[in-house]
């Protein structure tokens, strides 16, 4: 059906579609080629969230303020957790901001395949672009809220002198990176595991809630009320990260390096498992979603 062609063996093919591709390869080059798309997705997420609202981006800062008020009433007043001498609003504000970033990111990335099945079913681009874009748009929101916290914090540090930050504050970007990576790792793993059998999705909301109580969000690990469970809480990979993050800003709590290394290793292993499963699923998920 075709006229004589040039010898195939010498030809260079740009795309090679085969039945079984290696699963553990992360095609960074391809993701890089699609970086414009990544940025456009991020931009879209940010500008479409508060379309047709009157307050617009103000909601970014209102959300954590409301949550902080609720937390300080429930955990500070009713449950009686101490914020270890830290002004409670500053304490809860950073906790809420950090936790909501983690849980929002995990939540949205864990729905990557199901939420985007219509677009994934029509066009190809590296699927990892989707969760990556969610992480980045979440990060933009995080930074706005973080600036709000910084304003509070600076007020307490420089004007009221009621907070003494620690030198460990320089590690906060690193800690944040580990937290982000963990959210991504869990997210892509869960989304890959729920394309065919949706059962797991029912557990996510519940699991996240449980995880929040097991993480020093509303309390500090050095709070006498949790002393009983302290040795168990460290096994939660988020514990040392949240503690360390807050330690940098407030100089109270614990900055536990061995447990942080544990958390980092845990995250990297999860990320590998996550990417492996994601790559395995992305090729054919559209047939079963």
């Amino acid at each position: 059906m075709v006229e004589k062609t040039v010898p195939v063996e010498k030809e260079k093919w740009d795309i090679h579609i085969v039945a079984n591709r290696r699963n553990l390869e992360l095609n960074i080059a391809e993701i890089w080629r699609y970086r414009d798309l990544l940025m456009l997705f991020v931009k879209k997420d940010i500008i479409t969230v508060y379309k047709q609202t009157i307050l617009g981006p103000v909601w970014f800062v209102l959300q954590p303020i409301f949550s902080t008020l609720v937390y300080s009433v429930i955990f500070g007043q009713l449950a009686g957790f101490s914020s270890s001498g830290i002004p409670p609003y500053a304490f809860y504000l950073i906790s809420v901001t950090l936790w909501s970033y983690f849980s929002d990111t995990l939540n949205i990335t864990s729905k990557t395949f199901t939420d985007n099945s219509s677009i994934f079913g029509k066009v190809y681009f590296p699927r990892l672009i989707m969760p990556l874009s969610k992480i980045m748009s979440g990060l933009a929101k995080f930074f706005i809220q973080f600036c709000l916290f910084l304003a509070f914090w600076a007020y307490y540090v420089f004007i009221k002198h009621s907070i003494t930050p620690s030198i460990y504050i320089v590690f906060t970007p690193l800690i944040l990176l580990v937290i982000i990576t963990m959210a991504l790792a869990f997210g892509v793993l869960i989304t890959s595991m729920t394309t065919k059998y949706r059962d797991l999705t029912f557990l996510i909301a519940f699991g996240l809630q449980l995880m929040m109580y097991a993480t020093p969000v509303a309390y500090s690990i050095s709070d006498p009320k949790v002393a009983k469970w302290k040795h168990l809480l460290w096994y939660n990979p988020l514990t040392s990260l949240f503690e360390g993050f807050k330690y940098g800003f407030f100089g109270t709590g614990e900055f536990n390096v061995p447990w942080m290394l544990y958390s980092t290793c845990f995250t990297l292993i999860m990320l590998m498992i996550g990417i492996y499963t994601f790559n395995k699923v992305e090729k054919r998920f559209i047939d079963t979603v």
Partner: protein, 429 residues
């Protein structure tokens, strides 16, 4: 002549699992995994049967595509035809990397942009400009390339005034034009187009076809085109593949393949009567027969163009009080739509509650309307305004012959999808 190959498809096969995903499929997955661990062949790959939708197979697995081999040269325009379910869409999906094949491989030279749908990734809240960038990037283009083509895209879509408006405020025509323009003006080496031309008005369709021709002939890019519209296929494609039940039935130049396709598939009967046990409806109602009859109610297979014909449909109401009506879609053999008519314009029974029983509805198509070609009739039986009880696709044909009575000595083919006799008046000024 030696030309460069753009796409080579080798032994491509795709297995689909039918039915619902339940705990039963979990057992299959476990068995498959066990076999893989022991180094055996996938136990379910063997059972897959060829894809025939009309027969219920014994297995839950079916080969939607089986051992597909073909090559496309650079600059070629390849058409793919086949009945619904022949595997066309699956083939396109694999080519555009939306899903992976079960076996075999494809080698591609150059970038691919697939237009399996218009406006993939369009966000209603984003403006036309933002969506052009978004959609272009989804199709694999860089920001820079899109910027370079931006004006041409806007110009082709004819939306200069609206580039800053959110696309949700666009008319559906504008939306489709914009979406098509993005795909057609970006510069992938290979363009995959699936039936998108079924949307938009005639003017726009002509524009699209022109653009696609431009893309392949002038720019020397490769186009793969799937459509049910044979006219479009003939004007665009230089080679065509005909798929049947997941296998290549025929390849060759477009005219030959299309003729073969028409001869193989198009119904040649003017009467269809369903047996009691044949499926032709659901629990509410069913079709009993569709016939072309003359004014006396006698079934006819051919008539003269100046004679009227009646399309007589009988249906049975199986649930007391169902509101039923019938819709007819008349197409020519190349799938161009000629007209649609439905019994809603009848006011005794149509859309009114039907007591149990059998009903006959007749649609009279007047003489001097249809041309001397063959028309295909699709019948829809519809309940409660919107529920389609049954679709009998291309179920009968209407054949017309021109006895030459009104030609007044003119010879040759009298073209046209219809051939009405209109009111002419000439006066001397």
């Amino acid at each position: 002549m030696s030309r460069e190959v753009a796409i080579r498809v080798e032994n491509l096969s795709k297995l689909y699992r039918l039915g619902q995903i339940t705990t039963g499929t979990l057992t299959h997955d476990l068995k498959r995994w066990a076999a893989k661990m022991q180094g055996k062949e996938d136990p379910f790959m063997k059972v897959g049967e060829e894809n025939d939708r009309t027969k219920k197979g014994g297995s839950d697995y079916t080969w939607v595509l089986k051992d597909i081999n073909f090559e496309i040269n650079k600059g070629d325009t390849l058409g793919i035809i086949g009945k619904n379910g022949a595997g066309k869409s699956t083939l396109l999906k694999i080519l555009s990397r939306v899903t992976a094949p079960t076996k075999g491989e494809i080698k591609i030279k150059g970038r691919i942009a697939s237009l399996l749908e218009v406006g993939t990734g369009f966000h209603p809240d984003l403006s036309g400009r933002e969506n052009i960038y978004m959609n272009g990037a989804i199709l694999g283009m860089t920001r820079h390339e899109i910027t370079r083509k931006f004006d041409e895209i806007v110009d082709f879509a004819g939306i200069e005034k609206y580039v800053g408006t959110p696309v949700k405020r666009y008319s559906s025509g504008m939306y489709v034009r914009l979406a098509f323009a993005v795909a057609a003006f970006l510069e992938p080496e290979i363009l995959i187009v699936d039936e998108v031309l079924a949307v938009g008005d005639a003017e726009f369709q002509r524009k699209c076809m022109g653009r696609l021709k431009d893309v392949s002939v002038n720019d020397g890019r490769t186009v793969i085109f799937v459509s049910h519209n044979m006219t479009a296929m003939q004007s665009l494609c230089n080679r065509t593949i005909m798929l049947e039940r997941g296998q290549i039935k025929m390849t060759g130049d477009t005219d030959t393949v299309i003729n073969h396709y028409l001869n193989t598939y198009v119904s040649t009967s003017s009467t269809k009567v369903w047996d009691e046990h044949e499926s032709s409806g659901n629990d509410y109602a069913r079709l009993r027969s569709v016939k072309v009859v003359d004014d006396e109610g006698v079934a006819i297979s051919n008539s003269f163009i100046e004679e009227g014909v009646n399309i007589e449909t009988t249906y049975q109401c199986l649930e007391e009080g169902s509101k039923l009506y019938v819709s007819l879609v008349i197409k020519n053999q190349k799938d161009d739509l000629i007209f649609i008519s439905s019994s809603i314009s009848e006011d005794v029974w149509s859309m009114n509650p039907h007591p149990l029983g059998t009903y006959k509805t007749t649609c009279k198509v007047p003489g001097n309307l249809l041309n001397d070609i063959t028309y295909k009739v699709t019948v829809f039986l519809i309940r409660n305004s919107t529920d389609v009880v049954y679709t009998a696709e291309d179920i009968i044909i209407i054949e017309k012959t021109d006895p030459g009575n009104n030609r007044r000595g003119l010879y040759g083919k009298w073209g046209g999808l219809v051939r009405p006799i209109l009111d002419w008046r000439t006066i001397k000024l």
